[in-house]
Amino acid sequence: MLTTYRLTEHHTAGGMSRFLSHLSELQPEMFAEISPELARELGVKNGDYICIVTLRGAIEARALVSRRIRPVHLNGKTVHQVGLPYHFGTSGLVRGGAANDLLSISGEPNVTIMEAKAAACNIVPGRLPRGAAFEEWINKHVPTGGPANLHPEQPPLDTAKGGENPPGGHGKEEKE
């Protein structure tokens, strides 16, 4: 599970703070906080590059291994948490993967705000491939088994086709 949060050094998606040197130098790169347990499972060390993949997209970040992030036990299953600051983007003095690329578009009807605090994700150690290699890569690593309809108001796919829900996939839908 990934969650997103703010850092004190940056303001929202960093549109203002990533252009100021005194703030940028304090948090200069996108990172993903993971627990030592998850790091051991993935064979990742502190500072290594990891890729975070969801149904919506993929970004790369530096792994910040910390005991502050703890895996939780839910119904006998260990669920690992991944903490992502959402302050980074493609321009400014400091750049990095945008956590918002990973999130689904889902409206919360009561407060009319986007639900962007929890999503299922995969973590792949290494750098994110660019260009044509990206599509192949993301189809390989995208989480499967989740619901295929990404939007709560999207009509269920199986009623139209009369078949089963295809496994979730980012680039997969066009291929199949």
Binding site: T8, E25, Q27, P28, R62, R67, H73
Partner: protein
Amino acid sequence: MIGEGTKSTNQRRHSYVQEHVEVGFFTDPTVCIGCKACEVACKEWNHVPDDGFVWSGNSYDNTGHLGASTWRHVMFVEQDRQKGNQIVGSHSLGNGDGEDPFRWIFLSDVCKHCEDAGCLEACPTGAIVRTEVGSVLVQNDVCNGCGYCVVSCPFGVIDRRPKPLPDAGGAFKCTFCYDRQKSGLVPACAKVCPTESIVFGRLDDLRARATHRVQELHEHGYDDAQLYDPRETSVGGIHAFFLILGEPEAYGLPPKPQVPTIYLKSAWTAAFATAIAAIIATLLAFAFFS
């Protein structure tokens, strides 16, 4: 301190410079939230340039250490030790009733403005002076960049600024916002500190507050809270002292800081004795092998 609002010494105007009152900083990590506002305010007020965008991977500390372009540095210390009255139980992964012992401590480090300052004693140009409020000030228009102060600081605070940055070459460190204090203002870091983790005020007043705070923390289960205020060493007390949890080594603070000049006498005695011994040895060599 906490909850004093506008009555706090952090917000009041003062005339300590005019009255020659000794002032200081008291930094309390138990209320620090790690927002780094002190670092940013310091750099903004004093026109300190940024010194590189390097991600350290060491918790949220991307500053690293104090230096020529870092006059305030917030340390982020992660320790596998019980924090205060944290309920520690069996492992958090199991069905335990508590958490693993863990604490994340923030401490804003700064120049200590020693009573007997190594940098001041080493400075050959007189660029480093003692101000009316007891702080140590580098006059950058006098500094010739010899770097003697850099090796003489027992805390590793002062440093020379490297080349691509503005005003490169000279030595820089915290000025205790002497310019602000002359106008009756509080140093920038203390002024912006939202939780008053950094308290500015009269030194005697702060020492009393600090002692009280340590007692209060002991009552609340912070058994290893202590003051870092080395008065019994040759540094002779510092104007920016800290409350710390645990040992000073965990914060990069020397447990027994010494001013290097106390070693002058023994060093010169040793050098003199060596010189005498060398002369005698030379004479003996000529006496026996001629």
